[in-house]
């Protein structure tokens, strides 16, 4: 009985193997698969979608710590990159100023030191720059822009910083002349970025638009630095001298990098 049963199992297995071999060799197995796929596809698609959504949801919960850490890391990296951008922008600006200075051939005429403006006290007509005694800055050194426009001179000198007294400062006065004319005078600051040319002999002719430049007289500034442009001329019969209001040629708002003339 047992033998008969075992025989039955063996026959069944052999038959089954035969069927499968036939299915594989005739290619009918592909038809069977195709038949099942055709009606299972929508169900499988639904399962796929559900599985994906569930996995995304669970993955989000499980990886929340990793995501948080990554977010912190990215934030820190972003900050670092931002500060790097700021440094690069500053370097670009400095480079541009230096190029401008080179184009003006400033270095041929003077020994220069490039400085950056770090503070502006407009009401007092003074600036604060980032170099001081340690860099060899000395009180009285002339300060110019890259366009060879006179800005002022060094006032107080600290170890790492210096104060620039603008030519429009009330304490400031120096000898100047009208460009292309033999008209001399003294430029005095009025405060609030205003200045005027004083002590101009009455008989000398000056006109609006004339350029005022420095002279070597007094030895405060080198000669031929641009001071400003004559805006208005005041002449009265009572006064022995005439005066002229001068429009400064520098723009305080756009001053970032300046040059100190260390030797002239």
């Amino acid at each position: 009985m047992r033998m008969f049963r075992n025989l039955k199992i063996i026959v069944f297995l052999v038959l089954l193997i035969g069927v499968f071999v036939a299915l594989n060799f005739t290619g009918f197995a592909k038809n069977i698969k195709n038949f099942f796929y055709s009606f299972s596809a929508p169900v499988q698609k639904t399962f796929w979608q559900v599985g994906k959504n569930t996995s995304d949801f669970l993955g989000g919960i499980l990886e929340i710590n990793t995501i948080k850490k990554e977010l912190d890391f990215l934030r820190a990296e972003n900050q670092e990159l931002l500060s790097e951008i700021v440094v690069l922008k500053e370097l670009k600006k400095e480079n541009e100023t230096l190029r401008e200075g080179l184009n003006m051939e400033l270095q041929k005429d003077f020994k220069l030191e490039i400085v950056q403006v770090i503070g502006k006290d407009i009401s007092q007509d003074s600036l604060l720059i980032d170099k001081g005694q340690k860099e060899g800055i000395v009180k009285g050194m002339p300060v110019i822009t890259s366009q060879k426009v006179l800005l002022g001179r060094i006032g107080e000198v600290y170890d790492d910083f210096s104060e620039v007294i603008l030519i429009s400062n009330k304490q400031s006065s120096f000898d100047a002349k009208i460009s292309d004319k033999e008209v001399f005078g003294v430029v005095r600051g009025k405060g609030n970025q205003e200045l005027y040319l004083d002590l101009i002999p009455k008989e000398k002719e000056i006109a609006k638009g004339d350029l005022v430049i420095t002279t070597a007289l007094g030895g405060i500034f080198p000669q031929a630095l641009l001071v400003g442009e004559v805006k208005d001329v005041k002449k009265t019969d009572i006064e022995p001298f005439q005066t002229a209001e001068i429009e400064p040629q520098f723009d305080l708002k756009n001053l970032d990098y300046l040059f100190i003339i260390t030797d002239f």
Binding site: I9, L13, L16, I17, V19, F20, V21, L23, N24, A29, I32, K33, F36, S40, V43, Q44, K45, F47, W48, V50, G51, K52, T54, S55
Partner: protein, 105 residues
């Protein structure tokens, strides 16, 4: 018995679909749990009727052949493997093992 076989067809169909689509997203060490194999093993172990175990192996194996690509590219591979497994399990259980705590279905 016919009802059991119909149940087997539906049950294993659902299992194989879940295994090949839903569970793909929940791999454990890169592997998808083989629900069909687990079900066939459990049925073979705990069913009182040998036909019940054999039919579950045949149906489960057939669905695995249809819905998953065979290791050797032979259609019927899983059916034969599961069938052999079911028969051998049955023989071993009958001859050498007793499971007193479980009541066979």
């Amino acid at each position: 018995m016919a009802r059991k076989i119909i149940f087997c067809f539906v049950f294993f169909y659902l299992l194989v679909l879940i295994q090949t689509s839903f569970l793909v997203y929940f791999r454990v060490w890169g592997m998808v749990p083989d629900l069909v194999l687990i079900a066939v093993v459990l049925i073979s172990l705990f069913s009182s009727n040998q036909l019940w175990g054999v039919s579950s192996a045949l149906i489960g194996g057939f669905y695995l052949d249809v819905f998953s690509s065979s290791v050797i590219g032979f259609f019927g591979f899983y059916t034969l493997i599961l069938l052999l497994f079911s028969i051998i399990t049955r023989i071993i259980l009958q001859k050498y093992v007793r499971i007193p705590f479980f009541k066979r279905i």
